[in-house]
Symmetry: D2
């Protein structure tokens, strides 16, 4: 690969891959989002019995590191394919959300105690 890695290019490769295999009829938004949630759960499965401390060290084991990397790829693949069939721009969606959250949840001053996370929920 001599071209730089970017999301739009990966999205085009995924679309070509699916088209060459005639998978478009299966790639409804409903099916793709189910597949996305299944892949997210496969990531969760890696962590389900780990303590918080163990979870921070998963990349130390090469097999687990490979599994994590692979599931990240699957989640991103289905997210990009879902966005592609619906015409959603994921980077613009995230940028808009961060902008909105920065306005809605101003960073606390030094005097404030840390709070449990709540964003990026809307």
């Amino acid at each position: 690969m001599t071209e730089p890695l970017d999301l739009a290019r990966l999205q085009r490769r995924l679309a070509a891959f699916a088209a060459a295999r005639h998978w478009q009829p299966y790639h409804t938004p409903k099916n793709l989002v189910a597949a996305l949630s299944v892949e997210a759960s496969e990531l969760v499965e890696i962590f389900q019995w780990l303590t918080p401390e163990e979870s921070a060290r998963v990349m130390d084991d090469p097999d687990t590191a490979h599994r994590v990397t692979d599931e990240v790829a699957d989640v991103l693949a289905y997210l990009l394919q879902f966005c592609d069939v619906l015409g959603v721009d994921p980077l613009a969606a995230l940028a808009a959300k961060i902008d909105r959250n920065e306005r809605r949840f101003p960073a606390p001053g030094a005097q404030n105690a840390p709070e449990r996370p709540h964003p990026p929920e809307d």
Copy 2:
């Protein structure tokens, strides 16, 4: 925003957002991946009672379109934060996976019937 949208820049904004709110202690890989799967399910929820045909038209309704876009942002936000704390490069992970799948699942010739999708599973 005058800079171009790119994943690495959004990832830095998310990290700064979390740091300013002192959320790092909550952002263990285990917690972030749970949050990722919860957001993926919120996307599923939008589609759960729809027919395949209805699912293809969700962006026609502005409220639903906004909800879809917003959940896409949340999924991507947690995926990027998860990758950030573990040092995983999501674009490289996906490029490597597509390369591997292209070798493992050659596109069928025109004479072959379409098959149900199986990749990008490993």
Copy 3:
């Protein structure tokens, strides 16, 4: 097994099974609920590329029927173990929810068009 099948008895067998293997330290509510969601996703995976019509016929294939039954067992196992560690009575919880939903969502008269489902959400 000569005793009748009931939920409480299965719950006791699951607790004894986990105790004999010294798994209690892993069986935090947080971990059990992650495992529950992972098993629910394994059920989803069976259906993710199927049409609604195909999904209604999954039990016709013995292998798929076995897989479905097995995943149902896993979902129920983790739900019961989760309820056990937190002292939640799942049957009482469901009975109370149905009571509440019957009051909140009266059945429509014959003249009403069917609506898309919304309960049992609260």
Copy 4:
């Protein structure tokens, strides 16, 4: 309610509730299993930022206790409805699975170190 609580009776009430609202067309196995996974994720959401220790104390707060109980009801409701439309007996499925796991994963003798859980996977 003067009759004893049992799973089969709750399953019949759920079926009657759905039938009175003409929801059967929506209650395909594929849709019900999506709804099940969404409800399981709503349970996960309650725990996603909690430490293992905090997760063990969720029932101390009445509001959180109510939320947990309510989501347990939703998960069980969709599991029972899914089983109903496919003719799966959830108690028999679980009993068979426990039998199988007891044969496949004998309890370790006292000399063995505890292992991380793996069953009830198959």
